[in-house]
């Protein structure tokens, strides 16, 4: 041991200090540079390639250029988005970990289980919201007599429970909007759950159901081919502008229009949040990107004003509060 001590005397000490300082200097995170100075992780709680994931990737591509840093999109779909939400809610409040999600998904979780580790109101702050980013459309077969919502309601009143609608998994807007319609029109329609839009359309084409709820983008080719007709949409569709909304046809209650949002953990430093918000807004409104998104069927209605976003978040919570936890698919065991 004493040999060691001698060895570390004299010039050796100086060299050690210099080496230590250089290592110190080479570690970027120990500097305090302006935000952002390292890659940002965007956790998307939807499966890769899907409607939600795609819009985030398209925006992230341009956003990375404007922020002059890399944005790593990571998909984390486990636990129906709960794992992704928890991860971001618990992340360091430095703006380098963000959540890209369907606002309704986090709202659903928070309504059904307010005490969960990731509560929309308590643990997140909105950075940017794309209001009504895509439309959900109710489809019918072109060869049937029922072409409008009025016809549908009339038929349903004549034969309660007879009409079958293909809906999505429990708790999604594909399913819940039919519930809202049933409540508003006071009719009995049978909801048949499937895993998503594509299955619904497949079964509709095959004649196994009378109607189907689907995303407008998935429905468009079939409407164009003349096999299916659009009966109603929940928000004006960019790809199918001719289809009237539920509201226009007398049912404004059917309004679970989906928004996607960039969320950060609550308590981000104001400067950081402002940078993110401003750059995202600027990016989303670039003509080229906007055109690109619109041609994919996305509505680009970006909201970044603080008051506006908070109101939207609250509205989302209220919309989903109309349902029981069972409806939302989060019944406690």
């Amino acid at each position: 041991m004493t040999d060691y001590m001698n060895y570390f005397g004299g010039a050796m000490k100086l060299k050690l200090i210099i080496v230590a300082l250089s290592i110190f200097a080479a570690c970027p995170p120990l500097y305090s540079q302006s935000f952002p100075n390292k890659p940002i992780e965007l956790v998307v709680s939807s499966s890769p390639g899907g409607g939600v994931d795609l819009i985030f990737r398209l925006i992230a591509e341009e956003l990375a250029k404007n922020l002059k840093t890399q944005i790593n999109v990571a998909n984390q779909t486990a636990g129906a988005g709960a794992i992704a939400a928890e991860k971001v809610a618990a992340a360091r409040k430095d703006g380098y970990t963000l959540l890209g999600t369907l606002l309704g998904q986090v709202a659903t979780m928070s309504v059904a289980n307010p005490k969960a580790p990731a509560n929309l109101l308590r643990d997140f702050q909105p950075i940017a919201i794309l209001h009504g980013y895509a439309a959900v459309i109710m489809l019918g077969r072109a060869d049937s007599d029922i072409k409008t919502l009025k016809d549908l309601v009339a038929q349903a009143q004549k034969k309660p429970g007879d009409l079958i609608v293909a809906v999505g998994p429990p708790g999604t807007s594909l399913t819940l909007e039919v519930e809202l319609l049933k409540r508003a029109a006071k009719v009995d329609i049978t909801s048949l759950p499937f895993a998503g839009s594509a299955q619904g359309i497949t079964n509709l084409l095959g004649g196994h159901v009378n109607f189907a709820m689907a995303s407008d983008v998935a429905a468009q080719p079939h409407i164009k081919a003349g096999k299916l007709v659009g009966i109603a949409v929940d928000v004006e569709s960019a790809v199918l502008p001719d289809v009237p909304t539920f509201a226009k046809q007398g049912y404004p209650q059917v309004n679970l229009l989906a928004s996607v949002a960039f969320l950060g953990p609550k308590g981000l430093p104001d400067a950081t949040a402002k940078i993110l918000t401003d750059v995202i807004k600027k990016t989303a409104e670039e003509p080229k990107l906007k055109e690109n998104l619109k041609s994919r069927g996305y509505n680009v209605d970006i909201r970044t004003a603080s008051a506006d976003m908070n109101a939207l978040v609250k509205e989302e919570i209220d919309k989903y509060s109309r349902f029981t936890p069972e409806d939302l698919g989060w019944k406690a065991q």
């Binding site: 390639g49 591509e61 794992i83 004649g207 196994h208 998935a218 468009q220 698919g329």
Partner: protein
């Protein structure tokens, strides 16, 4: 004739230098992804999504498609070498493929797998080219009652999968079905058996279970042995012998047809095609007791079927624009990115894309064969590494595979649990294959039946009133009753029971 012309045109388009390059990258990446458990084609395609915005459309699509069928080639490699399925569709290959490896016949196994994949994939492309629209229309007739009947028929294939005690096999299948109900109920959204554990809400995934059940348990069982005992030192040749070829010819033929048909039905997993092909081979074989102990038919048929099915699986997407699974959804998304709306008019509106992709598949299958054959020699070398070096790698491999399924620790824990379960199962003579069958078919059967009940408002008659459903129900009943009718099978069972006690 027009179809053949179009396909030839497509091959020429796909053979352009740029497309060839992307194609090669695609199949290379696909093989890699197939070899690695947990990382599936869906994951790889997702990684490449950013590229979509920069690459030329056809080349990019060729690459993506290359990944998907390339994965079906690679999946069999680890199944045969270390009993870990690289893809869920390679589970069945573990049964006989690994047994062959232990007998020093890994080379022939890998070779037949490669050739079978090539033949199945290539013929399937022609099937797709000629039959896609017609099959797509036919596929639309499958609603929930038809699926229910079909799944029931599939379950009865179980009868031919077990080579041990029948009652234990049925018990394993039921256990698989029970396990599959962990998670959210697909119809009502209620959590079942989740004990408030968040990761269980998605259910017990197939991949971690299979890695644990087959791969990890294999390591646990071999811990005490020296390397020489596990893999026979004497390697009997790197390529299949002429006898292997003779034995595999019909299984490959049957596997192609069966795989193609099963894959064409929208929503049916490629895994099901492999189970069906294996069961068929076992049923028509003159020596069914060899299955599970290194029968080359047990490798040839499933490997052919999975490539055929993966190819025909594109029919619903390309003919009707309907994605039927995670991989097809990704390709759907990729098509959207380039403004190509897949739909009923896709083939008409974008023929150069459609035929270019098909042409690329022909080229891709050839590339894969050329790629995989020389690698066999390399893989054989891997098996000769001393086991004490090999087993940590296998375990690491399994853990990474399980983790990358969903990015949570939960899947690794599930893998470990099923590693232990698999170990105990081997000791107590319970078979894993029926359990996997139950795990895969169970949920499909359940949702199909429950949806049918919703449609029929509670009447069971719906299964017998619709022609296709009635057909499969009768077929299922026939399957169930036939072993009882066959004297040979009854004799078999009695002898086994006597031997057991």
């Amino acid at each position: 004739m027009a179809t053949l012309d179009a396909l030839t045109q497509g091959i020429f388009i796909a053979a352009s230098p740029l497309n060839l390059l992307y194609g090669f990258l695609g199949v290379l990446l696909g093989t890699l992804v197939g070899v690695l458990p947990g990382l599936g084609p869906a994951g790889a395609i997702a990684l490449l999504l950013p590229l979509a915005l920069h690459a030329p459309p056809l080349a990019y699509l060729i690459m993506l498609f290359g990944i998907t069928y390339g994965a079906q080639y690679g999946g069999s490699t680890t199944s045969i070498l270390v009993n870990i399925p690289g893809e869920a569709s390679s589970v069945i290959t573990c049964l006989d493929g690994y047994a062959m490896a232990r007998q020093g016949r890994a080379g022939p196994a890998l070779g037949i797998a490669a050739f079978g994949s090539f033949i199945g994939g290539t013929i399937s492309i022609f099937g797709l080219a000629y039959l896609a629209p017609a099959l797509a229309e036919f596929g639309l007739h499958f609603g929930p009652p038809e699926y229910a009947a079909l799944m029931l028929f599939g379950l009865t294939a179980l009868v031919y999968l077990a080579h041990g005690a029948m009652d234990k096999a049925i018990l394993m299948a039921l256990f698989g079905i029970l396990l599959a109900s962990v998670g959210l109920d697909p119809v009502t959204g209620q959590p079942r058996f989740t004990f408030d554990i968040l990761v269980l809400r998605d259910g017990v995934g197939l991949t971690p279970v299979v890695i644990g059940l087959f791969g990890i348990s294999e390591v646990l069982v071999n811990l005490r042995s020296e390397a020489g005992e596990i893999f026979q030192k004497k390697i009997t040749g790197l390529l299949p012998t002429s006898e292997d070829w003779k034995d595999s010819a019909m299984p490959i033929a049957r596997g192609t047809i069966l795989g193609f048909l099963v894959g064409a039905i929208p929503g049916l997993n490629v895994v099901i095609a492999t189970f069906a092909a294996y069961a068929l081979e076992k049923k028509v074989s003159k020596h069914p007791e060899k299955f599970g102990r290194g029968a080359i038919e047990g490798v040839a048929a499933p490997e052919t079927a999975n490539n055929a099915a993966s190819c025909s699986g594109w029919i619903p997407l390309l003919s009707l624009g309907l994605p039927t699974g995670s991989v097809t959804s990704l390709i759907f998304g990729a098509l959207l990115i380039h403004g190509l709306a897949p739909g009923p008019l896709f083939i008409k509106n974008s023929p150069e894309i459609f035929w270019g992709v098909l042409g690329s598949m022909v080229i891709g299958n050839v590339l894969l064969l050329i790629l995989n054959l020389p690698l066999i020699g390399l893989w054989i070398k891997v098996l000769q590494v001393p086991y004490f070096f090999l087993f940590p790698l296998i375990i690491l491999f399994g853990i990474i595979g399980a983790y990358t399924t969903s990015g949570t620790t939960g899947d690794v824990v599930i893998m470990i649990i099923f590693g232990v379960v698999g170990y105990l199962m081997r000791k107590f003579a319970y078979e894993p294959a029926p359990m996997v069958l139950g795990l895969v078919i169970g949920p499909l059967l359940e949702t199909a039946i429950r949806r049918s009940m919703i449609m029929s408002k509670g009447s069971v008659a719906i299964f017998f009133q619709r022609p296709i459903a009635a057909f499969f129900m009768s077929a299922a009943l026939l399957m169930l009753l036939s072993p009882l009718l066959t004297r040979r099978r009854i004799g078999h069972e009695i002898i086994e029971k006597l031997e057991e006690t």
